[in-house]
Symmetry: C2
Subunit: 483 residues, 2 copies
């Protein structure tokens, strides 16, 4: 089979016309993901995995500053262990992939492929924790997890297997645990806003949307240009419920045996999906510089008679930019135009063109991926300019995303406005009564709109009545359909 | 339950008396591993996982220099896909853990939990590779794998789930592929010799011990003080067999469709087990400085009247050592003696004691974990001395390991000597005929001794006859029982 031609290579649909098809094309053509024979199980190709590595590095560095240590707990959780905490198992059992055979033998007990690791970790914690001196215990793991969902899978955003980190900490005092919940949530905000240039809302999950087994859950949430919300990360306070179920106790300084307080928190590779949807455009992927595996690509404009000189200049340029991740695309078999399209599709933040005239003038042309803006830069000033442009792109993407989010947020007073905003696929802010039945009715009437969270920074309340049931409403909540 | 007393805390058996019990105690008491309810599935606790992170960092940096990119392929491999390469599946099928249920539904096709990822990766490679321009393709992943073995599990060394990296590369030319096999093997040698201070032998696997589906396999091998061999890492040349089975073809520069040549290579968390067995002593774990998560522990000697001064000096010391990973153990509730034992058990390379007299004299006492040697160091010279001692420990551990290995290697001429060396649990070097039946007979007669590899650096051949069957022997092979 020959290489696909230029048209096939590029994205053939506009993002605004059919975002779902656009997304499917981008993840494949920009070589981010590949489908496999198992529905919902996808390949994270190097271009996507490298973004994940950047996020890992940032988050891992931050949690290590807090004294969190990495570990690895088994993939397989015996059925009885998974069932020990009743509220928790009810939340996960319908989505568990079960191992029932080892080689030719039937196993005595089914083994769950971890959907999350509270149960297997806390069983061990009960062995390790004896005294207040063993606390706080702060362990994190970077692992694959499996949730055998039956909804339509969407690569990155809703896949049966995904990659995440899960932190599980134990504290002697409730206060310390609750402080940590918010400290971690703030790091998640930074992962999304500072690294991925995605604005998010910090808040508390409603009772019916909280993590199965948690006292309460907090989250960072956003809505992406498909009009669907993404729960970007969660940080849960588990209280003492798991400690009770798993027998985690400690001897406190006062000589008393006590139950500790626990947290768990995680974010996953769905963050990559949100990034693709937020920043991509009709030409393909746009990667924020802070998570870009490659900052710039140098494309030399080659003609037979000046080839040698231009290549020399391009190599010198690469040397000048050695503090950045730069590729010199000196492939002979593609035209500059082909290369421009390819690297735009793949979302590289900057393209640097160097041709015969540039060599004569000791210039290069630098092109921004986010705006298409071109500028001519003196060769000797290129490193400083690249730094400045990368910072500018990071900032611009975030500002643009914030504007988009603002335009696509609706403050609604009543059910009419609410319904209209649902149709327009907006992020809805509405006064809400906090009743579980009310949330369930909203979900039913709207075919899936749910409470994302109750933002900590409460927006101005435009009504004192619940936008749905009209009963008294103390808070404003965020609503949308979600992945 | 109260804290265990000092005797219970330490290792209660000598390494030379019962190395198996010694190992079991060390991995638990030094907090490296924890057993779980599922046989063969263990917890990698933070102290062990941190060693793995050091090895990952070293190896990952080296392979990225070669242009290898990280990715992530699904955990689940459909049964039909696993079976596509007949020799390969025969090698792995008896050890596969099978997922047969998702939630409450029975799956249409069983899914293998990956024992290794050749099949799922090469199915994708067939989609991605079209032209010589797509080659070489070099992808690696750091993942968990499961091999449902029925042998007695040994944490780190033989567990049903373990962590590893698997690199899978595709090359247009056989030469390039074969060169890479050895380039990677050399990085493995460095992982073991330079990082873990474990001497290894590079060589080629015998035909009956090669990887299922490979043209040939190479490995680094060693024997540890339990008298058992550890296959430390392997680098396989797969030839074109998988390319044929999975339909991987490329259009070469000459316009011809061709089958590419493939390699795969991996090393795993079993390396940690080898390290524990090689360097540990009767006091517990000894960690080579290059993989030690903590280089030194500062233990202040505290008395009521001088406490403040000593703590101040200890904090200053920590500041002077900020380029190293240093813990200041200022816990009030333990005596210095208790702390000495604890950190020896946990293998920290250096202990730095600072007491009232040291403060007066502006000295500290530095104690080596490997030799127990103490030296008094001027405070202002401590950073330089710590660096020097860490280098010295790394070197000493490797030299000591090499001497031990030399003493425990036997060059044997005939079956009498061979059998005696088996009894003495030595690493055996013997002339060998390279026949599969001969290797099988040796294994049977000795209850498990096998050919480890045929070293590239051939030792002096002490006979021209196979030490077992007496037929003509061209090479010397390494033999031992192995994990």
């Amino acid at each position: 089979m020959p290489k696909p031609d230029k048209n096939e290579m590029g994205v053939t649909v506009k993002k605004s016309d059919d975002i779902s098809e656009w997304y499917t094309q981008v993840i494949q053509k920009a070589e981010l993901a590949e489908y496999t024979g198992v529905s919902g199980c996808m390949i994270f190709r190097p271009r996507a995995y490298a973004i994940w590595e950047k996020l890992q590095y940032f988050f891992d560095t931050e949690i290590k500053k807090l004294g969190v240590q990495n570990a690895y707990f088994p993939l397989f959780i015996p059925e009885a262990l998974l069932k020990r905490e009743s509220e928790h198992v009810a939340g996960f059992a319908p989505e568990v992939a079960w191992v029932t055979q080892g080689g030719d033998s039937k196993l005595n007990e089914r083994l769950a492929v971890r959907p999350t690791s509270e149960t297997i970790m806390y069983d061990a914690y009960a062995k390790w924790i004896r005294s207040h001196r063993d606390l706080p215990l702060k362990i994190n793991q970077w692992v694959n997890v499996v949730r055998w969902e039956f909804k339509h899978p969407v690569p990155f955003l809703r896949s049966r297997e995904f990659l995440w980190q899960e932190g599980h900490t134990v504290h002697a005092k409730k206060d310390d645990a609750e402080t940590e919940v918010l400290t971690i949530l703030e790091i998640y905000r930074r992962v999304f806003e500072e690294m991925l240039a995605i604005p998010v809302f910090k808040g508390k999950k409603s009772v019916n949307e909280k993590f199965a087994g948690a006292d309460y859950s907090t989250s960072v949430e956003t809505i992406v240009p498909s009009g669907k919300a993404v729960q970007a990360a969660t940080s849960h306070h588990l209280g003492q419920r798991f400690a009770k179920s798993f027998g985690i106790e400690f001897l406190d300084e006062d000589g008393q045996k006590k139950l500790p307080f626990q947290n768990s928190w995680g974010f996953s590779t769905r963050s990559i999906g949100a990034m693709i949807l937020f920043h991509g455009d009709d030409k393909g992927l746009v990667i924020p510089p802070k998570v870009a595996p490659m900052h710039a690509v140098i494309v030399p404009i080659l003609f037979d008679d000046t080839k040698e000189k231009v290549l020399k200049a391009a190599n010198k340029l690469k040397e000048l930019l050695k503090d950045f991740a730069v590729l010199l695309d000196d492939r002979d078999s593609y035209t500059p135009g082909w290369k421009f399209n390819e690297w735009e599709l793949k979302g590289v933040p900057l393209r640097i063109e160097v041709g015969p005239k540039d060599v004569v003038n000791d210039n290069v042309v630098v092109v921004r991926r986010d705006t298409g803006e071109k500028c001519v830069v003196r060769t000797k000033e290129v490193a400083g300019k690249v730094k400045e442009l990368l910072d500018g792109i990071q900032k611009n993407l975030f500002e643009r995303a914030k504007s988009w989010l603002k335009e696509n947020t609706a403050d609604v007073k009543n059910w009419d406005e609410f319904s209209k905003a649902v149709e327009q696929k907006k992020l809805i802010r509405a006064a809400w009564c906090e009743k579980t039945e009310c949330a369930e009715q909203i979900k039913e009437k709207t075919e899936g709109v749910k409470v994302l969270n109750i933002p900590f920074e409460q927006p101005k309340k435009v009504s004192d009545e619940c936008a749905h049931c009209k009963s008294s409403a103390k808070i404003v909540a965020l609503f949308a359909k979600s992945y």
